[in-house]
């Protein structure tokens, strides 16, 4: 019993610590990638290659004055950043990041909670994230942030449908909502090859879900200045940023888990290799996730932004029918072939 609790607490600490470190360095990576794309250096003053920049950024935001607008709804205004950050971190609890090891006389899965409704849990939690954005935008009592919040809510609703439906195809193929089952079903053949259309829909939809360019309408700088977080400063602003980047990491991890075999390594059965296999599986997962993180940054610094109605059009009139067709086709395939 005590060992179990210790193991769970250790896992939580590893995941939270890992995610926060990853977030900090993802922000640095974003600036470095931006520099690379734009033919300049990016941060290189703090530590070698700017490696200490995240610490400097963190200290800076903590030392900034924390402003609350006079007419803001105080409770919600203070709560909103947490409502963005918490779901982003909680989602990671069900993502398996390795094959697991046998230690202390039991099998330790590399996953905080191995629940049998993993995917549903993820959709449920990510939907909560939008409340932080909408309420943050509304409670600031600023016209621009209100527009940002409204945009964000409309966007999330439109894309969550396509997102959910694109995954149903995988459920049909796997027959389980448990993420570990989905990963294990992909040994030998990744889902991206079985469900290419679903992958494309999922990819576009998570970009929209995470409010990243080309779908960053909620904060679109040139139109709404900063959108929903226009009034936030200091560490509350930081929390929005941490939430945004945690969301990106979670989304990348999800793409990998659902479509790119999760922690599996191509051509090697890591479950039979003991501790080395467990290590390899974690590396495999990290490398794949890293690629999608880079994709996120790459896209951001290359593409312009959609307009509000074009975004809706894409979500409702293209992605949703496509997801439904894909679902129908998958179901027919399973039934008749």
């Amino acid at each position: 019993m005590l060992t179990d609790i210790a193991i769970i607490i250790t896992k939580i600490m590893i995941v939270i610590g890992g995610t926060f470190t990853a977030v900090a360095y993802l922000i640095l990576a974003e600036r470095k990638v931006a520099g690379f794309v734009q033919e300049r250096y990016g941060p290189n003053r703090v530590g070698i290659w700017g490696l200490l920049q995240p610490i400097a950024d963190g200290v800076k935001t903590m030392l900034k004055e924390d402003i609350t607008p006079a007419k803001a709804n105080r409770i919600i205004y203070h709560l909103a950043p947490a409502m963005v950050l918490a779901p982003a971190l909680v989602t990671f609890a069900v993502v398996p990041f390795g094959s697991g090891i046998d230690a202390f006389g039991r099998h330790i899965a590399f996953q905080i909670a191995d629940i049998n409704i993993g995917i549903l849990f993820i959709f449920a939690i990510t939907s909560i994230g939008v409340y932080g954005v909408v309420l943050g935008g509304w409670s600031s009592n600023n016209k621009y942030s209100l527009l940002g919040g409204v945009r964000s809510s409309a966007q999330m609703i439109s894309y969550e449908l396509a997102l959910g439906l694109s995954v149903v195809g995988i459920l049909l193929l796997t027959g389980s909502l448990r993420l570990n089952d989905i990963v294990e079903a992909q040994i030998g053949m990744w889902n991206v090859f079985r469900q290419p259309v679903a992958f494309m829909i999922f990819l576009v939809a998570v970009f929209a879900e995470t409010n990243r360019l080309p779908f960053d309408l909620a904060e679109s700088e040139q139109e709404l200045i900063a959108g929903y977080h226009i009034e936030y400063s200091g560490f509350k602003y930081s929390m929005f940023m941490l939430g945004e980047y945690s969301n990106i990491i979670t989304a990348s991890a999800l793409i990998v888990t659902l479509f790119f075999g999760g922690w599996t390594v191509p051509f090697i059965d890591v479950t039979k290799l003991g501790h080395l296999g467990a290590f390899l599986s974690v590396v495999s997962f990290a490398v794949k996730t890293g690629f999608f993180l880079f994709l996120y940054l790459w896209v951001r610094w290359t593409l312009p932004r959609f307009r509000y109605d074009q975004l809706m059009h894409l979500g409702w009139k293209i992605l949703l029918p496509l997801a439904l067709l894909n679902l129908l086709f998958t179901a027919a395939w399973i039934t008749y072939v």
Binding site: D216, I225, R305
Partner: protein, 373 residues
Amino acid sequence: MPDLKTEEMVVQMGPQHPATHGVLRLEITTDGEIVKKIDPHIGYLHRCFEKHCEVLNYHQIIPFVDRCDYLAAMNNEHGYVMAVEKLLDIELPPRVEYIRVIMSELNRIASHLVALGTFGLDIGAITPFLFTFRDREKILDLFEMTSGARLLYNYIWIGGVAFDLPNGFVEKCFEFIDYFLPKLKEYDDLLSYNKIFIARTAKVAIIPPAVAIEWGITGPNLRASGVDWDLRRDEPYSIYDKFDWDVIVADGRVGVLGDSWSRYYVRVLEMEQSANIVKQALEGLPSDENVKSAVPRKVKTKEGSVFFRSENPRGELGFYIISDGSDIPHRLKMRSPAFCNLSAISDIGEGLLISDLVALLGSIDIVLGEIDR
């Protein structure tokens, strides 16, 4: 729900807003995302340019002209000194004319680069902005070589230019042209023909030709509406008639005539033409002459008035000077192209989405220094 109270929201866009390119304030009445009414407020950068001109002699006005349209200072100087020269009947050495054309066209490229970059930024594409500034930097280097300044040059003087071209300028300028022309393809790949960019700008905020003429819109914005009019060709001044170049008129190739994309793309093509003019001017540059031989020590005008207009990167820049015979103008009026271009937005912008309004504002390429003067 019949009791639900709805009302239009008044949003103050600016004076500190990323999309207003300076200190413009748009008071917009919105119904959700739809703009119902636009009320532009200008004057935040008013520096009494025209009043200053009434106490400064003709030479001293040149730095002030620089500061009006700070992105195209050479073109402004060129327009102003030609107006004064028309008043004085000065005969210029040919080398001066060539140098002036080279500078004006380089500055036109630099100004259009800023326009393209910031327009991309308005649409949400951040990287093209850095790319255009990277190339603009090379032009500024050339200007620094010649005049010592990178933004406000005070280089073109009445009757001449401040300095002759430095050693190595011609080679460096050729080098720049060879470097720059292939970069236009890069802009096309990265931005001009990007699907999202086209979706955001084509068929958006259309200015029909008749409306454009009615509002006095000039320059690339007018040509984007399909009106074939360029002062450099139709009212040739300086030595523009010696070069072989085309006036770019939009053909609405991805959308319709007069949309934001056309306004953007006319500028891309114009840069190519300007580079051609610079190349020809460099090839035909007359050998050493004294570039200050015609500069009058003291400007002695005859009584009377003169109006002269030239093609600025933003449109027709006019100077109306009334002289009372002294070396200080009695009155100087500047016809600012960006002011007329901006005035159309309250008409064109109604009924657009907020995002489209940003696209409209970015595509007409305003410089507040020139609007407010």
